[in-house]
């Protein structure tokens, strides 16, 4: 258990990372390093998007599954790693 905590801490302190959050299967954030309103917004929107993406991948081939989802925007990059029950979201500003 401590390993996961360490990993999350490492991610948070990595270069360029703005925030991380853990969201459960229903779109409710469990852990976050950002403020509440932002977290709730991100959680709700990204949860839906991830479900949609996953559904798309699996509809094409049921044996396939979504590994991760990256959304790169002008300002930063949002990375979503879905799990069976949880969703891990990291917002990073990639150094360019």
């Amino acid at each position: 258990m401590a390993e996961v905590e360490e990993t999350l801490k490492r991610i948070q302190t990595h270069k360029g990372v703005i925030g991380t959050m853990v969201v459960n299967a229903e779109g409710i954030p469990i852990r976050t390093t950002l403020d509440n309103s932002t977290t709730v917004q991100y959680a709700g929107l990204l949860h839906q998007l991830t479900m949609k993406a996953r559904s798309t991948v699996r509809d094409i081939d049921p044996q396939n599954d979504l590994t991760f989802l990256r959304i790169r925007s002008k300002k930063h990059e949002i990375m979503v790693a879905p799990d069976k029950e949880y969703l891990l979201i990291v917002i990073q500003n990639p150094c360019e």
Binding site: R10, H14, V17
Partner: protein, 711 residues
């Protein structure tokens, strides 16, 4: 107007005669009494008609007629026929004094008859009902004896009685007893009972708990369900096979405990997988340019460099915990091409501390995937070809240990000890061998104590066998008792032949290289006087079975043919050579690293006498590079230094030239050296033909395929 009657007698006139003038005749009581008794004088009213006597004696005759005195006597009516008024002679003389409408109706009138009929009906029915009962009784009495005979139902007599009743209704003349209500005293009385008050009674239960359930049925959901079902079935099959009934119960209990434990434990552990992926993604972003370079960058300047190449630094791997420790061993994982192991320890005899084994993945340069620490410095390591999760290490204190990456412990799975025959000096090299005949894991180790030991893992214990003892030749002397004493050489490096299983080379501290066989434990097959100082590394050429290479702290790298006692090539690198390695893609390329921080890459097919790349790789000059390894697939090398850093470098195209197939006069195996001085092009083995430039996979996808297991 009838004439007035002669008025009353004037009986009172005498008494009052005296008092005629007095009009208050009634007030005097005293004299009145007298008057009452005496007087009967007549009093004349003032307006009396005064008639003479003659008039008074007149007789008037009166006639009683039936004429109505009030009826008019001369009625005249207009007659339209004659157009004149006519006198009607006959006038109605009837005078009605009193009339009243009564409620008596004559019997014979219509209304009377009707009423009579109605009354008779009412009384008739009452009587007829009584008559029916009596009749019915009579009928029943009559019919009872008949029933037995005729077998008739009771309905029939009832029907007959009913008919009789109907007849009787028509003639209600018979005397009836009728309850007559007493018209004078009869009073109806009604009473109302008390209505019970109505009350609503309700009872409400708690509604059953409800939850909303929604789900989708997609192709992949169905697929998932099937897969789960399959897994369950397989599990049950395994359980049935493996365990006895008692054990089954235990197993179930354990399973329950496991599941309950899992649910109790913090939910955050389930994010492990995702966290790993995300960490790699984050790193990929940070080192994005490096990853792109790794995959796609080819130094275009190589065309102009006249056969020389460069090394492009990619990532640098370091860990805080291993900062003070030197890199003592490097090894790529045979199965997962981005995973490599780094052994940390110390070469300094005086400063010996702990050791660490770190496994890094190129996908995550910032943190190792696995960390193991040990008390004694790790000097060498090797990964098994077939079981990529088994890592064997040799320690400074002479112990060997096997780590199993699949298990989460940070301790080795198996460890040698003083009892089980550990070395008495640091173990300089370990190498896995093929599984022996009993399918036990098997590896060799060489150490400064002069022993080459074969270790076998038998039923989770390490059993050792001394293969050979390195005796320094010529040092065997006879002591007094007849024992043969010999000086033991210190082995520092060894390598096994790729094809000839039993043959291997050992390098020693004295600078000699012995060619040994696993089967001969006392004698060497051959000896080479290789170097003036300790041999740091020996390595067989992966393609050319006769060629091997050695390097030493005497600044030289030598290439040998094992059939010839003198080296074919000697290279002087101006600094102690720490390690040397053949390239996996070409039989003529090799790299050597020196303690002055430089890496030299040679390609014998291009330039036999000089390195085609000569590049300082580590930043500070005091950093000594200790080891180098080529990646089996990718065109990169990793270089470890004595500060605990591992640098990953990409070989530029010039360094990666694969030799063309020559039209040589070679046989099937196609390996012949044409001449020493001539072209030393050797045909590479076709099986290992790899093409770097056409690798299809994306640059270091952060998926988790590289991990031997998922925790």
């Amino acid at each position: 107007m009838p004439p007035k009657q002669p008025l009353r007698r004037q009986s009172v006139s005498v008494g009052r005669g005296t008092r005629k003038r007095d009009e208050d005749s009634g007030t005097e009581v005293a004299e009145g009494a007298d008057e009452w008794a005496q007087s009967k004088a007549t009093v004349r009213p003032p307006d009396q008609l005064e008639l003479t006597d003659a008039e008074l004696k007149e007789e008037f005759t009166r006639i009683l007629t039936a004429n109505n005195p009030h009826a008019p006597q001369n009625i005249v009516r207009y007659s339209f026929k004659e157009g004149t008024y006519k006198l009607i002679g006959f006038v109605d003389q009837l005078a009605v004094h009193f009339s009243q409408v009564g409620n008596l109706i004559p019997k014979d009138s219509d209304e009377g008859r009707r009423q009579r009929y109605r009354n008779n009906l009412v009384t008739g029915s009452e009587e007829s009902a009584k008559l029916v009962i009596s009749e019915a009784e009579v009928v029943e009495e009559e019919d009872e004896p008949k029933e037995a005979e005729a077998g008739s139902q009771t309905d029939v007599p009832a029907a007959e009685a009913a008919e009789k009743v109907a007849e009787e209704l028509m003639t209600p003349k018979q005397p009836k007893e009728r309850k007559l209500t007493n018209k004078f005293n009869f009073s109806e009385r009604a009473s109302q009972t008390f209505n019970n008050p109505l009350r609503d009674r309700e009872c409400q239960m708690e509604p059953p708990p409800r939850t909303n359930f929604s789900a989708t049925a997609n192709q992949w959901e169905i697929y998932d369900a099937y897969v789960e079902e399959l897994e369950k079935q397989e599990k049950t099959k395994e359980k049935e096979k493996a365990k006895t009934p008692v054990a089954k119960k235990m197993g179930k209990m354990a399973m329950r405990k496991m599941t309950s434990m899992e649910s109790q434990s913090d939910d955050i552990t389930k994010v492990t997988q995702a966290a790993k992926i995300v960490e790699r993604m984050v790193n990929q972003n940070t080192y994005d340019d490096v990853a792109q370079d790794f995959k796609y960058y080819e130094d275009a300047a190589d065309e102009y460099r006249d056969q020389e190449g460069t090394l492009l630094p990619l990532w640098k791997f370091q860990n805080d915990k291993a900062k003070r420790l030197a890199v003592t061993a490097l090894c790529w994982n045979p199965k997962y091409n981005d995973l490599f192991a780094v052994g940390h320890g110390s070469y300094d005899f005086m400063k010996q501390s702990r050791g660490m084994l770190l496994l890094y993945s190129m996908k995550n340069p910032s943190f190792p995937e696995y960390i193991f620490s040990s008390e004694s410095g790790i000097m060498c390591l090797d990964m098994h070809m077939d079981h990529p999760y088994l890592v064997v290490v040799g320690h400074y204190d002479g112990n060997v240990a096997i780590y199993n990456l699949k298990k989460p412990h940070s301790q080795p799975s198996f460890r040698s000890s003083a009892k089980s025959g550990k070395h008495t000096d640091p173990v300089w090299q370990v190498k896995w061998q093929k599984d022996d005949m009993d399918n036990n894991l098997n590896f060799f180790s060489v150490s400064s104590d002069g022993r080459i030991v074969s270790w076998t893992l038998v039923k989770s214990e390490l059993v050792h066998t001394d293969v050979i003892k390195l005796k320094v030749e010529g040092s065997t002397t006879e002591s007094l008792e007849g024992l043969q004493l010999y000086t033991v050489g210190c082995g520092t490096a060894f390598d096994f032949h790729k094809e000839i299983d039993y043959m291997f080379l050992v390098g020693t501290e004295e600078g000699k290289i012995y060619k040994c066989s696993k089967s001969y434990s006392s004698q060497f097959l051959d000896t080479y006087d290789a170097h003036n100082m300790a041999v740091d590394a020996v390595s067989w050429n992966p393609y050319h079975t006769k060629v091997f290479m050695s390097c030493s702290s005497d600044w030289t790298v030598k290439i040998w043919d094992h059939t010839i006692k003198t080296p074919m090539f000697i290279y002087d690198l101006n600094s102690a050579v720490g390690d040397v390695a053949w390239a996996p893609y070409s039989s003529t390329v090799f790299a050597a690293v020196t303690t002055n921080g430089k890496t030299h890459v040679f390609d014998l097919s291009i330039n036999k006498y000089e390195a085609i790349c000569n590049q300082p790789v580590v930043a500070k000059k005091k950093n000594k590079i200790t080891h180098v390894q080529f990646n089996p697939i990718h065109p990169i090398i990793i270089v470890g230094d004595d500060r605990g850093h591992v640098t990953c470098l990409k070989l530029s195209p010039n360094l990666r030239k694969m030799p063309k197939l020559l039209r040589t006069t070679v046989g099937n195996n196609g390996c012949e050296v044409t001449a020493f001085g001539g072209s030393s092009r050797q045909q590479p083995r076709p099986s290992k033909g790899v093409s770097y430039l056409e690798h299809p996979s994306p640059p270091l996808a952060p998926g988790l395929e590289s991990l031997p297991h998922s925790r």
